[in-house]
Assembly symmetry: C2
Homo-oligomer: 376 residues x 2
């Protein structure tokens, strides 16, 4: 199908841009001597993930058991579930292990480690476990120097548990916007996680895997000494938040929402489009950044940004397109009813999640449907 034949709103993937992003990340991480494990929570799409593995990625990262189940069913075996395993998820994780999935799970507490060990012992299973490290005060994890690190390792008793490594995610990188700050945080993420691994090894534990990453730090790391694996997710599409962070240009953003103009409020300089927040998501991640893009950057049908035009307001199925600098009182002539526009999203993970499928556009503008799943 051609772009102009698609019913709006739809989520478009610019495949050449996506391919460029995949190769850029893979090349960067490989050059620094680590393997790369993409986070599929961004796309939740088998077709997109196959392109990542084809480019050299080893294994995948997931954020839910459903992602693990869906990708395992599609033939992916090496899966890292990178959210602390709650006791009520043990049954689902065990089912994957029994089916032959090479699943790795995560913990950051003695209580959770003991629950995994007890469940494994009771059911004759062995869980591969990573310990989550907190390197930037962002979210979960144990501080690299904390006494708790060794307590958790001790709670992961064999044969029910096999300690396979440490993992961290410097998610606070999303709040930065200079190369210097990103380089410094990338080094903090690396050194903190390596330090945790070394403490474990000194205490007599094996700790083969040192897994780090976020899209900004992965692309800014100056060295990966001691790191075995890098993880990143949103880089496959990039978005306006990443643009403000400084790790992509607008014309590298591979996800957009195709929308149609349905009306105007001429005296206000508004065009109304059929992409509201249900299509764009409610993510306003650029609100507190250097440049606020509202609910998205307006582009023409070739995904070239129309400078100054954003989705400045959104209801469920209505988006308001306006020009930031001064109202465009000729907007009804510029974008007549029926005009199709493409909108770059603030946050690709959130916008993608609003759609049951992507339309993947090749370099000639022909589209193929790539399915996407959601839920838990």
């Amino acid at each position: 199908m051609k772009l102009t034949e698609l019913m709006t709103p739809v989520a478009l993937i610019d495949v050449p841009r996506m391919q460029h992003n995949i190769e850029r990340m893979q090349t960067y991480v490989s050059k620094h001597g680590a393997s790369f494990r993409p986070h599929v929570k961004t796309s939740k799409c088998v077709d997109a993930t196959r392109a990542q593995l084809k480019a050299g990625a080893q294994g995948i990262t997931v954020s839910t058991l459903k992602e693990a189940e869906q990708f395992f069913a599609a033939g992916f075996r090496d899966i890292l579930y990178a959210v602390g395993l709650a006791p009520n998820k043990l049954v689902g994780a065990a089912a994957l292990l029994r089916q032959g999935c090479d699943l790795k799970v995560l913990t950051d507490s003695v209580q959770s480690a003991q629950a995994i060990a007890a469940y494994g012992t009771q059911h004759g299973l062995s869980f591969k476990v990573l310990i989550e490290i907190d390197t930037d005060d962002h979210r979960s994890g144990i501080k690299p120097a904390s006494a708790q690190l060794l307590e958790v390792a001790r709670a992961l008793t064999a044969p029910a548990c096999e300690l396979v490594g440490v993992l961290t995610h410097a998610g606070s990188s999303y709040d930065l916007n200079t190369p210097e700050a990103l380089i410094a945080l990338a080094e903090q993420e690396r050194s903190g996680c390596v330090r945790a691994a070394e403490r474990l090894r000194q205490a007599g534990f094996t700790c083969p895997s040192v897994s780090i990453g976020s899209t900004p730090t992965a692309l800014c790391a100056q060295n990966l000494d001691g790191v075995t694996e890098v993880r990143a997710g949103v880089y496959i599409f990039f978005d306006l938040v990443m643009h403000n962070v400084g790790v992509c240009a607008l014309n590298e953003i591979a996800l957009s929402v195709l929308t149609t103009v349905i009306g105007h409020q001429e005296e206000k300089g508004w065009a109304i489009v059929d992409a509201g927040w249900m299509a764009m998501s409610r993510d306003r991640g650029t609100q507190k950044q250097t440049q606020d893009f509202g609910y998205g950057q307006v582009c023409d049908l070739n995904a070239v940004a129309l400078e100054g035009y954003t989705i400045s307001g959104a209801n469920q199925e209505h988006g308001i397109v306006s020009r930031a600098a001064e109202p465009d009182l000729a907007i009804a002539k510029r974008f007549p009813i029926g005009t199709q526009l493409r909108i770059l999203p603030n946050h690709a993970c959130a916008t993608g999640a609003q759609f049951p499928e992507y339309h993947a556009l090749d370099h000639e503008g022909n589209s193929t449907t790539w399915s996407r799943f959601y839920g838990w």
Copy 2:
């Protein structure tokens, strides 16, 4: 199933609360002499909508053609598509008409009205059309006193078009929080829409239907003189935004997300739960209101609010539960790993949309699955 057996995160509907909300709205609107047409964009759920019709609602309102198609397939015939009809949606609307759907569509421009008339003429169809009126400078629509109103009516030529009424939605009611302001806006919404209908009638057009509504104005209108129909959506569940507007108590909110504690950062007073923004949505509608609930109000398993505890931060699959007043340094004892909590959402329409299904809880706490659709 019992609540404690459900895999988290899941979306729960408290059916007794929902039933109470449905009856409250229906009674209020009926008492004022209008019929009530619920907006199903909130639930996108046939089971929930059947409860609204059973209570006395007449017809439904939809925000997308997919909603129209899904509900028509489920046996609903009287459907108002309350978003301006874009030219590329004519094919889908026509398909519904041909199948026998009593579909009403909306326009607010001469260009769109002409497109509907031309399509109807070309294909031998007759579209029932309402003209959208702008009564609060909020979004789409024609001002009641505008010359454009009669131009649009004239463009809706018979037999391809039948002008069946005027419609408005005072969406700016979401920004208010006093009874006086809500009563005043409800009257502005009513009188503006009635005035538009009268202008049309004086000019010789028939205009049987005068359709108004938003949840806050529908519940605050002091009279509905000249109004034939009221529409509202979010009232079926209510949410924290509506609580701040002042039209519901916390214990009337019927939608919540069941979540599990997966870890802690004790020294910060954080419990980490498995409901992040993917479950709650990115909606931060209470941010600019009197009380900011973060990503949601934390409740116990009976949906009783635990005062001061909110989801203060969220990543995709992680929510941070903390106490606003001062950090709860005993939070790991208060909410140990595995604890289940229920979270009231900022915006029910946005939170519901994150889930493929609801778990509807009866007064004894037993759950039934109610399916929900998404996409366009």
